[in-house]
């Protein structure tokens, strides 16, 4: 009996100890870690549920931000923190909700209309329908708000295509419904350490790029592929190279002219230099000459089944020397990369007519369709007001600089990008951005907003040319596209009510 009692008391002691340990660790689970406290002194931040507040959240208005996580989390935490410790943010607290699937999920979230956040930050996607369905808050007053502590309005600080990209016609009135987020920089990212080791020069022209690819194969005896690309994505990111070339040949004004989609023939004819799709043909012929014809030796085997992350991982692991991608890649995939990477200016197509009046080649940064911000219409007024205040606060000079420092992305606002202290990789991207004109596709044509007519129609030319190297040609693809668009045009017009 004594033995039993002893055993029981030992078991009881073990249980009590275990409970004590569990209760301590259990309680500690939701507490902010000391690292987080160091990063955001003076506020409480719960990394698990995304809540951030100064002193208390009682009787304060919530600003819940649902954001795509491609740029990581640090930038939004920093912006929220800065707002809370400023007097502007005295009446608010944040819930920061990072969501990798936000871009595809946001339409059904708006449709469901329950549990809406105050601010959404999705990646590039069609937003016009959200505006016309009445899901988005009118942002005219945000564009005309004075930036806190500055003498200009928010709208006056916005630059480039974004000055009017955020407008949509809703119930007969043209107003702002979305707000600029990131401006991306795209092109060829290369393994700088590898380039330095082998003494490979950055190619100036597409001829140089072809020579470089051959040199990479020779110097590494085929161990390192010149390129890896994400083949599971339609177009395989080659458009970050291709449209840069197309815009270089056409110039941004003619690209905008193309995007008006006034007629099938006007936008999609390609044979003459004056045709709006002539640049597309030239670009595809360069792609065919350099990449398609040399695909066996220039492209890493297995690229066709890679996602953007696995392709970027292959690049980061040194399996390929270059990858077509954008400035976001460092945040997304370079965490464990030992080598140094950089973005090169897109090699230009050598042609005297493609130079500006100073004899320099025209350089364009194709940013891809832009990431954007909106406030849903179906939330409380005080939430809308807080969201607008915060978005205006993010436009302060020092916040824009800080944003670029932390996220690695520029925003399309007037601010001194030179003040940014970024990684060497981001600096290389910014150098490309500074020396070029940024362009992205935008159009007010109903054929475009209704998703009928696109930059490329019928299929992705890059994927098509790579999948049919022996039978397909660039000129054949352009001919097929023109014929296909001509066939569909009357039906498209009818479908959009024109």
């Amino acid at each position: 009996m004594k033995k039993l009692l002893k055993l029981f008391s030992v078991a009881l002691t073990v249980c009590i100890f275990a409970l004590a340990v569990l209760s301590v660790t259990g309680c500690g689970k939701n507490k902010p870690s000391s690292d987080i406290e160091d990063l955001y002194p003076g506020v409480t931040f719960n990394e698990k549920n995304g809540e951030m507040y100064k002193d208390t959240k009682e009787e304060k208005t919530r600003i819940k931000i649902s954001y795509s996580t491609g740029q990581g989390n640090a930038w939004i935490r920093r912006m929220a923190y800065d707002f809370l410790i400023d007097e502007e943010g005295a009446d608010y607290y944040f819930v920061l909700d990072g969501d990798s699937e936000l871009t595809s999920a946001v339409s059904s979230k708006l449709e469901a209309g329950v549990g809406l956040s105050e601010i959404y930050m999705p990646l590039a996607s069609g937003w016009n329908a959200y505006a016309s369905l009445g899901y988005l808050e009118n942002l005219n007053d945000l564009y005309s708000m004075t930036v806190p502590g500055e003498s200009v309005t928010v709208g006056e600080k916005i630059r480039g295509s974004w000055t009017d990209y955020g407008k949509a016609v809703v119930q007969g009135s043209l107003d702002y419904y979305i707000f600029p987020w990131n401006e991306h920089i795209t092109g060829i990212v290369y393994n700088k350490t590898m380039f330095d080791t082998y003494g490979w020069a950055i190619p100036e022209t597409t001829d140089d790029l072809l020579d470089l690819c051959n040199k990479i194969v020779t110097d590494t005896k085929g161990r390192i592929a010149p390129f890896v690309y994400p083949g599971t994505i339609s177009g395989g990111y080659w458009d970050f190279l291709g449209t840069n070339w197309w815009a270089q040949v056409a110039g941004t004004e003619r690209m905008d002219e193309f995007m008006k989609f006034e007629s099938a023939e006007k936008s999609f004819s390609y044979m003459k230099e004056t045709d709006l799709s002539y640049g597309k043909l030239v670009m595809l012929e360069e792609f065919e000459r350099i990449i398609v014809k040399n695909r066996e030796k220039f492209i890493l085997k297995g690229s066709g089944s890679k996602t953007h992350l696995t392709a970027q991982l292959s690049f980061a692991q040194g399996q390929a020397a270059m990858i077509p991608t954008g400035s976001w890649v460092e945040n997304e995939s370079f965490g464990d990369m030992e080598d140094e990477a950089a973005m090169m200016p897109t090699p230009v197509i050598k042609n005297e007519t493609l130079k500006d009046e100073n004899g320099n080649y025209i350089r364009v940064n194709y940013s891809g369709q832009p990431d954007y911000i909106f406030i849903p219409s179906g939330i409380k007024e005080e939430g809308k007001e807080g969201a607008k205040k915060f978005l205006a606060f993010m436009c302060k000079d020092e916040e824009l600089v800080r944003y670029t420092n932390v996220s690695g992305a520029p925003r399309p606002f007037d601010y001194d990008i030179g003040k940014c202290e970024t990684s060497a990789f981001i600096q290389s991207c910014i150098n490309v951005w500074k020396d070029s004109t940024t362009w992205f596709e935008k159009s007010t044509s109903k054929l475009w907003t209704a998703n009928k007519c696109r930059k490329f129609n019928s299929n992705s030319p890059y994927t098509y040319l790579l999948a049919n190297p022996d039978t397909a040609t660039a000129i054949g693809w352009c001919a097929n596209e023109l014929a296909s668009v001509q066939r569909s045009w009357p039906q498209w017009l009818e479908q959009v009510g024109e």
Binding site: A129, L447, Q495
Partner: protein, 481 residues
């Protein structure tokens, strides 16, 4: 005295045995029967010729090869075959008859496409619009019905007509086509009341311009309501795919359940008893929809849909489309690859289909009532979409509580006598390999029929509580008694 004691003992024994037999009668296991199979279709059926990733045509399948492919379709548990990739718009009579013959021989049904019939039906709206008055319109419509019958006769009079299930009409139409489809559907129904006028609708994640077909924007509820008001079919089908990966991370589509919820609300409010079909994912496509990696990936989708009271599933895809269809990239890992060999996906989907068919004797005898959620973390985000759902049930007459160690939910069903049954699902991404203990607390039950992954067993319910151990992708149909 001894006599009296013996009499008392006998009386006690008699009374005891009467009570015992009464108890036995009250816990008698309910018996359900049905020979019907669940409706399981697919997208991209058996082709008439081989083709590669670039869509380049290769050798034509011999008749024996074609038939062998249909045996594989039937063995996979699929009950309705769809046309091959290059025959979805128009099978022409040669392919269509070949497909019907093969379906007939392996004992399944077949949906075919015929552009002549479709063109006739699509032209009906314009033909009726130019009629001078109602009388002329009625005459014209009767004429088109007869023409449709004449076209259909080739198939309906054939020796393989028993395999014919319906005709492919339109995938993902915008609202701008609904009126045309409504008239076409009405005429088709008059001409062939027993055949399916097959259309498939957009998912909730489609954009407003897609939903409208280009003329402005409409929201999803408007889209569905307009369909219900305009097109009189006895079913409604849509496609929505839940399993994502960027190659490194795994996530689920957040509105997977929400779309089911919206559909069930629509058919319930409408009250016409339309069946609800959906597509489930069985190929890697686009930038993020991933390949199936286990039976759990397939059964998770099917069980979830079961729990939401669905009537039919279709696997997207059975065979592989070319590597790029003009908008989307497709991998070579549907149930059959482009060489028309079985893949691992074939095994996963076949297993899931068999689990589903095994549920039919029970499922067929119950009617869906709604769902009970056990929201532990809502890691997938699906439950948050259902906050305002009219289909949420917190507890029932029999089921007092559902809780679990991970996210789970149960569809609630009732049989004709009011007995409840529950389709319980481990609602965690199968790729994350999360097991789940689900506890059900009943008002009163001593036993339960539990049908899990094709196996039926009777289990004791202790203290009115039943605990289910659900592995990734597991679901169980539970009938307490």
């Amino acid at each position: 005295m001894k006599k009296i004691m013996a009499m008392c003992l006998a009386a006690t024994l008699f009374a005891g045995s009467a009570v015992l037999s009464a108890c036995r009668a009250s816990v008698k296991e309910p018996v359900y029967e049905s020979t019907r199979k669940y409706e399981i279709g697919m997208w991209v059926g058996v082709p008439e010729f081989y083709y590669d990733a670039g869509g380049n045509r290769g050798e034509t399948l011999t008749d024996e090869e074609f038939l062998q492919q249909y045996r594989y379709v039937a063995d996979a548990g699929i009950t309705i075959a769809f046309p091959g990739y290059y025959n979805m718009g128009d099978g022409r009579t040669s392919y269509n008859m070949k497909a019907l013959k093969a379906a007939h021989e392996v004992g399944i049904k077949q949906i075919i496409a015929d552009s002549q019939i479709r063109n006739l039906l699509f032209g009906a709206k314009a033909a009726l619009e130019i009629c001078a008055d109602d009388a002329e319109r009625a005459r014209k419509e009767a004429e088109i019905v007869e023409s449709t019958k004449a076209y259909l006769k080739y198939y309906t009079d054939s020796e393989y007509a028993d395999a014919l299930y319906g005709f492919m009409i339109k995938d993902e139409p915008g609202t701008n086509m609904f009126e045309q489809l409504g008239i076409a559907g009405r005429i088709f129904k008059k001409a062939a009341p027993d055949l399916m006028f097959y259309c498939n609708l957009f998912p909730v994640i489609a954009g407003g311009a897609q939903l409208s077909g280009g003329s402005g924007s409409v929201n999803y509820n408007t889209y569905l309501n307009k369909w219900a008001q305009t097109v009189d079919t006895d079913y409604i089908s849509y496609d929505h795919y839940p399993l994502y990966s960027d190659g490194i991370n795994y996530t689920m589509e957040k509105s997977f359940l929400y779309n089911m919820d919206v559909m069930q609300t629509l058919v319930r409010d409408e009250g016409k008893g339309r069946r609800v079909w959906t597509f489930l994912q069985s190929i890697q496509f686009g930038a993020k929809n991933r390949a199936l990696a286990s039976t759990a990936d397939a059964s998770f989708q099917a069980y979830s849909y079961f729990a939401y009271g669905g009537d039919g599933i279709q696997w997207f895809c059975y065979c592989c489309p070319p590597g790029n269809d003009g908008a989307t990239n497709f991998a070579n890992n549907a149930l059959m690859n482009r060489e028309l060999q079985k893949t691992d996906t074939y095994t996963y989907v076949r297993n899931a289909n068999n689990y589903i068919h095994a549920l039919m004797p029970y499922y067929e005898n119950f009617e869906w009532q709604g769902v009970v959620l056990s929201d532990v973390s809502d890691a997938a985000g699906n439950f948050s979409y259902l906050e305002a759902s009219e289909n949420l049930i917190t507890s029932t007459e029999t089921l007092k509580k559902l809780d679990s160690t991970e996210d789970a939910f149960a569809g609630v069903f009732k049989d004709k006598d009011g007995r409840e049954g529950y389709m319980v699902v481990n609602f965690t991404d199968p790729a994350l390999n999360i097991s789940n203990t689900v506890n059900m607390t009943f008002g009163k039950a001593s036993n339960a029929v539990v049908v899990k992954n094709g196996v039926k067993e009777t289990v004791k319910v202790k203290g009115n509580k039943l605990s289910l151990e659900l592995k990734p992708g597991d679901g169980a149909f539970v009938i307490p008694y």
